[in-house]
Structure formats: structure tokens, C-alpha cells
Symmetry: C2
């Protein structure tokens, strides 16, 4: 059945961030659609940002394009150019290696739901606002290269 039964896919708020940077994504609830549906060409996540939640720490990927579309609710896109309101139907694209850190913040009182597409396996990722970088494959460290003690 091509229609995806979203309710049948486990929803998680798991994060690889160290605890002191994870508060903002604790109410980011997502479902990974590709493993559940047999897709391998790209990764896709169905994300619910509860009021106050961020999609991520502001970041940019060296090697992965990202694309998202707002399905319901509103969010503020924060990037180097400032703050951009997004509403249902809005699309945002983040070309790899553009050096423009971005994230969504749900500043409303209602859930924000969006679909985001990217590669399934991440390479290096940069976080301009916090002392973290990702070397790839989920290996997140301080900017001086030392590991977090979690």
C-alpha cells in the first residue's frame, strides 16, 4: 500500500546532541519514513515540532542537500539572513555546503508539522551558534575535536 500509515511508524524524539544542547529538540517528534517504506534513494522524516521546539541546532551540511515543506502550522526559519515565517505549503531548500546555518523554531501555540528530505547518512555538519561540530556518521564533538562526555 503506497499510502504511508504514519500512525504505524514509531515516533521518537531521540537526538545525538549532548544533553546540554538537546533541550531545544526535546519536543521535536519525528518518524523516519524511508526505512519504514523501503525507500533507499533518500531519507525522509515526518516531523512534529511541539510549541517551542526547534528542528535542530542551527546547522549546515557539507555534503547533503535538504528540502522541507510545511504541512501544518507555522514555524520561523532562522538563518544567516534573519527570520522568515513559514506557513503550510511553504517550501525551503538548503543546498549542501552553502555555509548558511538554518533551523526552524515553532514559536506558535500549535504543532508545526513538516516533511524533510535529505540523505540517509550524514557527512560533516557545522553548527555556527554552539560549540559542536559533526565529523560525519553521527560523530559529534566540540569544535576543538574533543568528544563530549555524555
Amino acid at each position: 500500500m503506497p499510502k504511508v500509515d504514519l500512525q504505524a511508524i514509531p515516533q521518537t524524539n531521540a537526538t545525538g546532541y549532548p544533553a546540554h544542547l538537546a533541550d531545544v529538540v526535546q519536543q521535536r517528534w519525528y518518524r523516519r519514513l524511508s526505512p519504514a517504506t523501503g525507500l533507499t534513494d533518500f531519507g525522509a522524516s515526518h516531523v512534529v515540532l511541539k510549541p517551542g521546539a526547534w528542528s535542530a541546532q542551527r546547522h549546515w551540511h557539507e555534503c547533503e542537500d535538504e528540502l522541507l515543506v510545511i504541512i501544518a502550522g507555522t514555524a520561523v526559519l532562522v538563518d544567516d539572513t534573519g527570520r522568515t515565517p513559514l506557513v503550510a505549503g511553504d517550501v525551503a531548500a538548503f543546498p549542501k555546503n552553502d555555509g548558511n546555518g538554518h533551523c526552524l523554531v515553532n514559536e506558535s501555540d500549535a504543532d508545526c508539522v513538516f516533511l524533510v528530505i535529505g540523505k540517509s547518512v550524514n557527512g560533516p555538519c557545522h553548527y555556527p551558534d554552539v560549540d559542536m561540530r559533526e565529523l560525519g556518521g553521527g560523530d559529534k564533538r566540540r569544535k576543538d575535536g574533543t568528544p563530549f562526555s555524555r
Copy 2:
């Protein structure tokens, strides 16, 4: 600016189908988002199906996963399992080489808007209901291999 200015991207109803199979997609208006936004990892199209329009002749790809999300309006997903209504927020996934021909049909009186993700360049594609197959790279022929005269 990561937010995509959809109105600034040309909308087209172009099709590679031969004229006698193209009627159903004449009111399928789409914008190719990846070239417009600098994404290369995958293709993405923002599609408006006017009332009565189909997303495509029913088809399945040998080599490309597809994923779509309904942004507004409704459509009927037609595939080997039957007819499945889709509404805003619904997601459908079509793993490559699944042999399950699919298309969307807008049977409503309002526009149906959806976002669809796939590879930018298509390989072989099969059309179970009509005398057409695609060898790849847009080369569509009759099932006996003869070219269409267009």
C-alpha cells in the same frame, strides 16, 4: 534565502508523452524545484493538479524511489491495490522496482497541490495500462519498441 519563492519558478505542463496519451496530464502544472534552488542530490517538483488532471499515466520506475506529500486539496491514489483517497498531510511512498503502477487523479472540483521527490534523471519506467514504456532518459516508445511519431 532558503524559503523557496514558488511564484518565481516557471510553472509548466510540459510532458514527454505522445499526444494521444497526454490528455490526462494537460492540467498537471509543475515547478521543478531542484534546478531552481541548487539541489542536486534528488529531484523535487511542486505540482498542481487542476480538477480532473492526473499526475501521470499509471506507472512504476525500475530504478527510482518516489515520495509525495499532499499539501492541499484531495486526490485519489490509483494502484494495483485499488483506489485510496489522499488528503492534505497524507504521504505516499513508491519504492523502486515494486511493480505497482501508480498515479494520482484529482476527482475533486478544487486544485490538488503536492510535493514529489525522486531522482532527477529517470531510468526505465513501465506503464501497465497503456502501450508505452520508457527505456530511460525520456526515451518513450511503444511496448514493441517502435518509436512514437509525434
